[in-house]
């Protein structure tokens, strides 16, 4: 898929010219990283057709979605793009299952729906209305809803930014599962380096409306390597405070300050960094 677009945006700091040129390969997860106001969301909106670029071209395989020179601008509803919005945009009048069926549309594929429901672990939630779900659950529903329409590309607009640390780590694992299970092009907008390292195959860094860096996440964001763990115990020895953390390979006992000790409940998921 080729994206080569230009757009003049009204940024908070004044007018900004956004230029974005990028190929997305089959099954690739591309992350767009950059400060807020860099135009990340606008790029997703232009790919999906919700915003019209000033110039350039967007094409998917041999199909042209947008071309300034050929005056082509395919309607959003004909592009079959999966979009997970920052506010999730779940329809409050429908239950979770109704939301999914609505997204699936007329050529309802029951087998695919059931398969995806199994992977998604939504369980009993499917007969509930979105308003009674927690933020993390709503996010999962929004993801699944974008997937059931079998999109040609999935766009994730800071999908985990509104969630607390623990839920976020859980959902990153969830996305990783999806990455293994479903073959799909994905563009992930994020300002969380660890999230990008965990999920993306490639990252482009935006600054001042242009791509300033591009490459593998490990190369672009070297240094701090995060390790995830779960707090399994808390101890006091000789008036020093320790928390015991189970990571993938081992069990660590770390000395911590009293405030950190009090603020960390057993069962909490945390990330450790080696510097």
């Amino acid at each position: 898929m080729l994206i080569d677009i230009q757009k003049r945006l009204n940024a908070p700091s004044g007018k900004m010219d956004l230029k974005f040129h990028c190929h997305i390969h089959e099954n690739e997860w591309l992350a767009i990283y950059g400060p807020s106001g860099a135009g990340k969301t606008s790029i997703l909106r232009m790919i999906s057709g919700l915003m019209k670029p000033d110039a350039g071209k967007i094409s998917f395989k041999k199909e042209v979605w947008f071309s300034k020179s050929k005056k082509i601008n395919t309607k959003p509803r004909l592009r079959n793009v999966g979009f997970v919005f920052q506010d999730y945009a779940l329809f409050p009048n429908m239950t979770v299952l109704e939301n999914l069926k609505y997204a699936q549309g007329k050529n309802e594929d029951k087998i695919f729906l059931n398969e995806i429901l199994e992977v998604s672990q939504l369980g009993d939630l499917i007969h509930k209305k979105p308003s009674v779900l927690s933020g993390g659950q709503q996010q999962r529903v929004a993801l699944v809803r974008a997937l059931v329409q079998k999109p040609r590309i999935l766009l994730l607009d800071e999908p985990l930014s509104a969630l607390d640390e623990k839920t976020r780590l859980g959902l990153q694992d969830y996305l990783l599962e999806i990455k293994k299970e479903i073959q799909l092009r994905v563009i992930l907008v994020s300002h969380d380096k660890n999230e990008i390292k965990k999920l993306a195959d490639r990252v482009v860094v935006l600054g001042n409306g242009e791509i300033i860096q591009e490459g593998k996440p490990e190369t672009i964001f070297p240094g701090k390597e995060g390790v995830e763990g779960v707090v399994i115990d808390k101890r006091m020895k000789d008036s020093l405070f320790f928390i015991v953390i189970q990571t993938k390979g081992s069990i660590l006992e770390l000395p911590v300050s009293k405030s950190k000790f009090d603020a960390t409940p057993i069962g909490d998921k945390i990330q450790l960094f080696l510097e």
Partner: protein, 223 residues
């Protein structure tokens, strides 16, 4: 004293509200989402009945629909419609007179929904019409109800427009509000009281029903 004016009033209000509802859906949608330069003009026209004395509207309707004038003559000759001093004319005048009361609640309901609802639905391949009926309207039920009730109540309470264009023909254009005025003029206070009491009670009950229902709706969606 007869039930006729009351029945006529509720018939007029029902017909007006029904037609108004279907006119207001596309109009509110357009006003809520269009970025056309014409929008302020249309918005102003829709809101005019809020500030104009009803007699002004009634006067111009009377002039326009009169068979002595070009437009009225054309209606009469081509469509066989005589809108002055007729029930049809009352309906048409009421639709215009109560338009803002139906349009404003629906419009503000629609524009109050997150833009992502419409965008998400279109990215799922849905047409605007399907999005409107399956996503937007079901999520603004309290606004729809408010529009229907306000338009109905406002039509029931109409006096000036009706008097100007409809006159006072029993069974045809003599609605309850006119009948009250008529009774008082002829010092028949008993009849005036009867019509007034019925209007008062029914209006109270309808509004009470709506507010209790709406309270329930809001509680339900917020839970």
């Amino acid at each position: 004293m007869s039930w006729e004016p009351l029945i006529l009033t509720f018939k007029l209000a029902s017909v007006t509200t029904l037609i108004l509802f279907f006119i207001s859906l596309p109009l509110s949608y357009w006003l809520a989402f269009s970025r056309s330069r014409l929008k302020p003009v249309i918005q102003t026209l829709v809101a005019m009945p809020l500030v104009l004395p009803p007699t002004v509207l009634g006067f111009y309707f009377l002039i326009a629909f009169s068979p002595n004038n070009a437009f009225g003559e054309w209606l009469d000759a081509w469509l066989g419609l005589r809108l002055v001093f007729s029930f049809g004319g009352l309906v048409l005048a009421s639709i215009i007179y109560s338009l803002p009361f139906m349009v404003h609640p629906i419009q503000s309901g629609l524009s109050g929904l997150p833009a992502s609802f419409r965008e998400a639905s279109s990215l799922m391949g849905k047409s605007r019409l399907e999005t409107l009926f399956r996503v937007l309207l079901p999520n603004i039920k309290p606004s729809l109800l408010a529009g229907i009730v306000l338009a109905f109540a406002h039509t029931v309470g109409e006096f000036g427009v009706v008097l100007m264009i409809g006159g006072n023909i029993p069974g045809k254009t003599k609605v309850a509000s006119i009948a009250i005025y008529d009774s008082v003029e002829s010092l028949d206070y008993a009849s005036a009281n009867f019509y007034s009491l019925v209007l008062f009670s029914i209006s109270f009950l309808v509004l009470l029903l709506v507010y209790s229902l709406n309270g329930g709706l809001i509680k339900f969606s917020g839970r």
